[in-house]
């Protein structure tokens, strides 16, 4: 039998403290690094950062041609493949900058959306178990679960070309739903004609399905307001019931990434790009391979927006059934939908020069400050809402884009709590325990369709989201608005 658990190696390279929540990997520490690595973490988190090889991946990303300022990592950083989770890098096409599918990940436009209700904790508390059971019954979740929305290749291409407005035209989204999604639910310049038949086949019955892994639908209550003004602008108040939806582009997006990595196998050699990890495969932004990936990736991103929209639509129907009234009467409006696995062309000030750069966010969330033109008009004076799922036992957060995010992180903040236990370690830690019963005793009704889903995703498998959020708040990347506590969750 092969050794099942190889000795886990941590990061032993240089990490220099810059301030109380920023650490630097100097570019001089490894030949080939074009910029420094910068990791946002405080003393509570930095030992966790060193415990796996994520920091090495931050340094690896600094090898990419055309990278600007620094290879960045958010405090929810952990070991990924190619890029770390929590990684951010911006590349300049005018400087030979590349696009790397590994900088987006397989789950293109994995993201979250938060749905408000006009229900209070008192209204919802007696119904939480029924709500969760009904969600589990009515919303497809888990491995191998297709959905009730099945689309032909032509319909999928139309969806990917138009994003959420395509659903609105079919009565499955409101104009308000469109207005409250990042990029209004449609990343411009998608090229759905470049999405492979295999990707279309994988996505045919998966739009409107949660999936598995760390994806979920969670009923929450706002338990603390940190910024009254921003909370009011976002329509949040203490004691309010909300629903958090976390999913992405499902099999369609995974296949688009897989196809791109195959197509790019030889691109680094063709373009003379030395890489320390083959999972960083990339091509110049201004190359046929780079343009092909960007076009297909944007199409998959639009599918992901539609997936979360259809999930929200089904959640609304479940609430309407359980509370026996139309969802509109329950005030079930979308606060915001935000991507946390994506590459986007954005204009940023780099060393005093305004440039259009390709910002890769892999497990990182856009967090534009007040006044930015890409924020929906209703939030522009406040700043972009940022939604941070934590774990199913403790909390999640709503933040607002911070004043220093543009100068420090290309307008980016963290995306979650970040794992601190592997799946195998979490399962081992749960042996002899019932995570569902433990959560229920703590006031959370949790249901999962997979064998070890709750064990692998138990709260102890994640860093404390309060600590992670505290770092991005102090670093000025985003500011605390409201803390939400879980009441019930369905997992894959």
């Amino acid at each position: 039998m092969p050794d099942p658990i190889p000795k886990r190696t941590g990061y032993e390279g240089p990490l220099q403290r810059i301030d109380d929540c920023t650490w630097r990997i100097p570019k001089e520490s490894r030949p080939g690094m074009r910029v420094d690595g910068l990791i946002f973490a405080d003393d509570r988190l930095i030992d966790l950062v060193k415990s796996d090889r994520a920091a090495e991946q931050v340094a690896n990303v600094a090898f990419l041609p055309g990278i600007q300022q620094a290879s960045l990592a958010m405090p929810d950083i952990h070991w990924g493949y190619g890029f770390c989770i929590g990684g951010v890098c911006a590349t300049d096409p005018a400087a030979g900058g590349v696009v790397s599918p590994g900088g987006v990940g397989y789950d293109i436009n994995c993201g979250v959306r938060l749905v408000r209700t006009n229900l209070t904790l008192d209204d919802a508390a007696p119904h939480v178990t029924r709500l969760v059971d009904q969600l589990l019954q009515d919303v497809p979740v888990g491995v191998g679960q297709g959905g009730r929305y099945v689309y032909s290749p032509d319909e999928l291409r139309g969806m990917m070309r138009q994003g959420v407005p395509w659903l609105a035209a079919r009565g499955l989204a409101t104009s308000d739903d469109v207005a409250c999604a990042e990029a209004e639910g449609c990343i411009p310049d998608p090229m759905p004609e470049l999405v492979s038949d295999r990707a279309l086949a994988r996505g045919a019955d998966q739009c409107g399905t949660v999936g598995a892994g760390n994806h979920f639908i969670e009923v929450q209550v706002v338990d603390r307001i940190a910024d009254e003004r921003a909370a009011a602008a976002f329509g949040l108040h203490a004691g309010q019931i909300c629903v958090l939806i976390h999913s992405g582009s499902r099999g369609l997006g995974y296949q688009v990434c897989d196809d791109a990595l195959r197509a790019l196998r030889d691109a680094p050699a063709k373009y003379g790009i030395p890489l320390p990890d083959r999972q960083l495969a990339c091509a110049p932004l201004d190359s046929p391979e780079g343009r092909h990936y960007l076009g297909a990736m944007r199409a998959a991103a639009n599918y992901a927006f539609c997936n979360r929209q259809l999930l929200m639509w089904q959640v609304r129907e479940v609430f309407a059934r359980v509370f026996d009234c139309p969802w509109e009467s329950l005030g079930m409006t979308l606060l915001y939908d935000v991507a946390h696995n994506i590459a986007k062309m954005e204009t940023h000030d780099v060393d005093g020069i305004s440039k259009e750069v390709c910002v890769h966010r892999k497990g990182a969330t856009r967090a534009f400050p007040a006044g930015h033109h890409d924020i929906p008009a209703r939030y522009r004076d406040t700043g972009q809402p940022v939604i941070i799922p934590g774990d199913m036992g403790r909390a999640s957060w709503v933040l607002v884009g911070g004043p220093r995010s543009l100068e420090r992180s290309f307008g980016t903040t963290c995306h979650g709590a970040g794992r601190c236990l592997s799946r195998t370690a979490a399962t081992k830690a749960a042996q002899g325990r019932s995570i569902a019963h433990e959560l229920e005793r703590a006031g959370v009704i949790a249901r999962s369709r997979s064998r070890d889903g709750l064990a692998e995703e138990q709260p102890a498998a994640y860093k404390d989201v309060d600590v992670v959020v505290d770092v991005v708040h102090r670093a000025g990347l985003s500011s605390k608005v409201a803390r939400l506590r879980p009441l019930g969750v369905i997992k894959g």
Binding site: P2, W79, Y81, V143, Y254, Q255, S422, T424
Partner: protein, 136 residues
């Protein structure tokens, strides 16, 4: 033989086998162990044939396991038994298993993709060793 090893958010499959063909077969068993949790719940009542082209053994392994993954994603096939023959231009294989039955199978993981991260296949003094990491 195969074993599942830990990776922070994902899972890895490590294989040790006396021959290249057996390493490929064991990698298939490793893949479906990740998906199904327990191969014992898969009945080997259906046979499917696979042909995968390639000359580089490491990429051939990657493409083979990716094809098996696609068989689950596209046709909901679960396999537990494999016979693999490798030639100069690729492989031919048969896989035995059955279609996923939600009433009888309780699956363990949804695999998004087979990653190229730390992908490895090499010959040892006693056979072949392979490492694959899958994205969960």
């Amino acid at each position: 033989m195969h074993a599942i090893f830990e990776h922070t958010a994902d899972l890895g499959i490590r294989v040790e086998a006396p021959s290249l063909e057996q390493a490929f077969a064991d990698a298939g068993r490793g893949l479906f162990t990740v998906i199904a949790g327990d191969l014992g719940q898969i009945r080997t009542t259906t046979v499917e044939s696979f042909e995968v082209a390639g000359t580089d053994p490491t990429w051939l392994l990657f493409d083979w396991v990716s094809e098996l993954h696609a068989a689950f994603e596209l046709r909901r096939m679960l396999f537990a038994d494999f016979a693999v023959a490798i030639g100069a231009t690729g492989l031919r294989a048969t896989a035995r298993g059955e279609r996923y039955d939600p009433g009888r199978h309780r699956l363990a993981h949804e695999i998004k993709a087979i990653t190229q991260h730390e992908l490895d296949l090499h010959e040892t003094a006693v056979g072949w060793e392979a490492t694959l990491i899958v994205d969960i």
